[in-house]
């Protein structure tokens, strides 16, 4: 049936998004980029790609954050184009995609306010896809209930938030709990929505979202070692749609160290590989986090800071997760007449921007030995 009716509403946009996808940087272009000596070379090289002259009118010298911002702007423009041309249920689907950014922005602002950062500066750092009207008012909130009642109640995030209103006041741990609760609720809701769409969309999106869920579960577990987060609380944060659910999640909830995490993931063949080599390589943490281009890791991963001793292994694991995510997103393009391509394209583009920023950063900081640590998309 999809083949019959899909193109009536979404054929044009699918064509557009596949065209966008064809514009993603290829391995060859990445190779060229990594050979650049300076940021100007980088710009010259990028001007030969689909990015075109997006940096042409920037006065020299160009900072890496400008590159990242401009590239994100490209992504945002594309997304907005898709969104403004979409009709139900694709428009709803695209809207769901923005919720993740909203959660990130909310958390970013609350954390920032808590640490006494300037509100305007925080607003600028927010991901443009997750901006909503009342967002600036978040900085007034001093406790969770206020947060909910003043601002979030009229955003689409409100239903996700209901469960965490019980938490008393805002501190680092609670914020992290809020973030993960929100994310759990969001992922479950998104998955339910995709299931309601049915067909290949449900199938592929479930694959991607369940990986996302598992990744979060594993991250929560690893990051909660050595913090005062109790195991029951931890268990509550795990999304229930992943492939690890339920046994894996239960095992994760009981885990005390990384070995037990590994055992919990044994059941899923793909995940086993993540841990196989993680002990041996153990590269240091990335110099700039994972880039402020966006993604769930853009805000300071506070629990990660607490579990400092695991930092090296975790960063390496994080890269493997990204690689696997890219792989799953690439698979989404193999099927037609489904919405997952939109999700996957945005994720891949995001990854591309992260990689670009990484390469630019390495060039700027003259860390050429690590320049190849980016994650290629196609």
């Amino acid at each position: 049936m999809e083949a019959l009716l899909f193109n009536v509403d979404s054929g044009f946009l699918e064509g557009i998004v596949r065209g966008y996808k064809a514009g993603l940087l290829t391995q060859n272009q990445y190779n060229n980029l990594t050979q650049c000596e300076t940021i100007e070379d980088f710009r010259t090289q990028l001007s030969a790609t689909d990015y075109g002259n997006f940096l042409a009118n920037e006065p020299l010298p160009i900072s890496t954050s400008t590159i990242s911002d401009k590239a994100t702007q490209v992504l945002v423009d594309q997304f907005n184009y898709l969104r403004s041309n979409a009709v139900e249920p694709l428009s709803k689907f695209l809207e769901y995609m923005t919720y993740a950014y909203m959660i990130d922005n909310v958390i970013l602002i609350i954390t920032g306010t808590l640490h006494g950062r300037n509100t305007n500066e925080l607003l600028q750092r927010c991901h443009p896809l997750g901006v909503f009207d009342t967002m600036p008012a978040l900085c007034v909130a001093t406790n969770v209930e206020e947060l909910y009642h003043t601002v979030l109640v009229e955003t689409p995030l409100a239903p996700y938030f209901r469960d965490s209103v019980t938490a008393a006041d805002l501190d680092d741990l609670n914020i992290e709990i809020i973030r993960n609760t929100l994310y759990k609720a969001y992922l479950e809701d998104f998955d339910a929505f995709c299931t309601s769409l049915g067909g290949p969309t449900a199938e592929i999106m479930h694959r991607i979202l369940s990986f996302e869920a598992d990744r979060r579960a594993i991250n929560i577990t690893i990051n909660s070692f050595g913090t005062q987060l109790s195991k029951e609380q931890r268990a509550k944060l795990f999304p229930t749609i992943g492939r690890l659910f339920p046994e894996g999640n239960n095992a994760l909830a009981r885990a005390d160290d990384i070995d037990q995490v590994r055992q919990a993931c044994e059941a899923v063949a793909e995940y086993r590989a993540f841990f196989d080599a993680s002990g041996t390589v153990g590269g240091g943490a990335r110099p700039n986090g994972t880039g402020h281009g966006g993604g769930s890791e853009s805000t300071a991963n506070l629990l990660g800071d607490l579990g400092d001793d695991l930092g090296g292994g975790a960063a390496d694991l994080e890269d493997r997760f990204f690689v696997h995510e890219v792989h799953l997103n690439k698979l989404a393009f193999l099927q037609q007449f489904q919405y997952a391509v939109f999700y996957s394209y945005i994720k891949l583009k995001e990854q591309e921007i992260r990689s670009l920023t990484w390469i630019a950063e390495c060039i700027a900081q003259n860390a050429r030995d690590r320049i190849h640590d980016y994650i290629p998309t196609f």
Binding site: N32, Q35, C36, E37, E40, D41, T44, Q45, A48, A56, N57, P59, L60, T119, N120, L123, D133, T134, P136, A137, C139, V140, E146, H149, T150, V151, V153, E154
Partner: protein
Amino acid sequence: MGDEYPTLFRSEQMSLVQLIVPTEVAHDTIAELGELGNVQFKDLNPNVNPFQRSFVGEIRRIDEMARRVRFFASQIEKEKEPIPIRPLYDSAPLVTVGPRAAQTIDELDVKLAEHEARLTQMNDSYQLLSERLRELVEARHVLRETAQFFEQAAVRETEHRTSLDDSSAPLLQHDDREQQYSTGELQFDLEFVAGTIDRTRLSTFERVLWRVLRGNLYMNYIDIQEPFVDPATGAETRKNVFIIFAHGDILLGKIRKVAESMGATIYPIDVNADKRADSMREVTTRLEDLQIVLYNTGANRRAELMTIGENLASWQDVVAKEKLIYETLNLLNYDVRRKTLIAEGWCPTRDIPQIQLALRHATEESGTNVPPILHELRTNRTPPTFHRTNKFTEGFQTIMDAYGVASYQEVNPGLFAVITFPFLFAVMFGDIGHGFIIFIAAAIMILFERKLAKADLGEIFGTFFFGRYIILLMGLFSIYTGFLYNDIFSKSLHLFHSGWSFAEPNGNDTSVVGIPNGHTYPFGIDPAWHGAENALLFTNSYKMKMSIVLGVIHMSFAVCLQVPNHIRFKRFSDIYTNFIPQMIFLQSIFGYLVVCIIYKWTIDWSKASTQPPSLLNMLIGMVLSPGNVDPESQLYPGQSTVQVILLLLAGVCVPWLLITKPYLQYQEMKKIQGQGYIGLGAEDVPRHTDDTTLEGEEEGNGRAIVEANDDEHEEHDFSEVVVHQVIHTIEFCLGCVSHTASYLRLWALSLAHAQLSEVLWDMTLANVLGMSGLVGIIALVIVGVMWLALTISILCVMEGLSAFLHALRLHWVEANSKHYEAGGYQFVPLSFARVNEKQ
């Protein structure tokens, strides 16, 4: 061959030349060649990244300059009152060649940087000042609006005072504190925050505040009438003044915080009326001062932009040219050791002396005495196709290039299209009047072509202008065919004695029968046919047969065009494996049809013993039941024998076409293999070990490049030849049938055109021509205008476009498929003129 006069018949003879340029004159040489515009440079470093090439630094610098120039242009564009940009032909040329070239560029770079710095500084200060101005204006608004509010409140205050006094203790406490620093007569119980906010965010702001303060606030807001204009972007924003009363420091703090985060500006307002008046005065005076400063800054900035505008065009030109020069230099092979650049490229063989001259000129200009060396290279690579066109032939050549660029030295159909295209168009468009209209339109475009060429015409009119000479010829030919059809705005002309005479109609019987009176109408269709009952029958039969005749002639001609190709490319076997069978096939069926058509025209059927036979049925019968001709519909005696022979001839041609060529190829292959050669193929001419090779060996460089790129040869597979020939045969034989039928569009369109123009005349002018008196004149004017408008828009433009399209198809599909290989690639020389065109 090189000094052959250039024709459109074949593309220009090209040479692969190698230039050895000393580094000092490289820039000037390329500049000179760019002005000349007839060398296409090859990329000699295809494996090098763009940023690893020799002149990246220069390109980057030019890019930076280009960015600055773009910045100036955008600034000038944004200015509300237009700033004159002096056109390029009017400004002093900036010399970027010769010994002082580097200095000129340096100076230009510095100058641009200075201008940019100055402009950015002015922009910044202008922005800062306007920002401050905006704040002051907002403050004034806030003061003014709140004053009103306070005045109203003061009146009410006194009324309510007594009743409130003793009821609420906290308010009194509050009063006490207030009194410590505010000794004015008016005292407010509530504290407040006042400021301005973007109107679009007002509702969100209010909603958030309501929730944050749980409704413990009183908010009042007033629209500011005039919009605020952002000086940098020119965007308008509309704002509101708000004043919020709330109670308690914490709440006020929250309000301030929310307001700030929502992008509102808060202004301190005093409750005391006198102080408010004071600050109002202060704001007003500061506002006046600021406005003067702002005006001066704006005037300065404008003056700066004016000076930039003086030179902007020449800067743009220089920057674009320099960029092109360095991009070309990057294609060159850079020999670091010897301080020379080696260039390779295609150029027309005829132009080599000119290029030599340009090179010498460049050397003289740059003041050195080491001239660049040019020599021809031998190669077996296919050169690009270059047709030297002028403004007349350009349009026709473009029509053919749009189908495909001719292979190198192939017969160019663009030459013949100059006549055949307008003619086939005119066959469909034949009308003296309409032809005259488009002829006049084209003639006007040609008369004013200098003026029009400079102006930006837009996409649609620009296309018409580009094809003005095509339109001119189309108009002329339409007038000619109009005379043939004797058609002027659907009426006919009586130029000669008609061949028919009509008796006076008598009584009620209005139909009369024409009687031939012995005259023969010497040219075109006899006007007597106009209005005759069987006129349509006559013209249909006439035009249909004429289109078949024209079509078969056109196709035969196209088939014949193969021959010069076969001779030029030394494929003599193709003449009897392809050309002769194709020709026989075409002529034995459709050529025969044409002969029959003409023969049938020559016979006076009114005196013949048999009825005129239907030629269509004759042709069908010839194929379906060979040898049988119904004596009733026999055209000439012995018809059946002739037809059988012709059919057999055509039948023989099919296997002939199908088999001979692959067989010959097979034979040749066997011969070569029989001689013991394998692999490398027979086409490779042994390389001449003449002086070029020796020279190449001496040079060491450049020689290798030519050879390295010589991997274009494909090994011709035998099966490929067979498949190709099968497809070719099927395509040709079926094509002959369908293409001949396709030429019937000439008849169909010309019929449609004639009918449409007749309908238009009958529906409009025919009704009012007979009217007399004032009404008649007015009606004639109105309907006449309407008729003319419809004639031009529907009959000339729309019908013209349709006929154009069909003429295009007849050339592309019906004619080109018979001979045109179109496997070449266009010659794209380095040319500054093209850059200017693009801009």
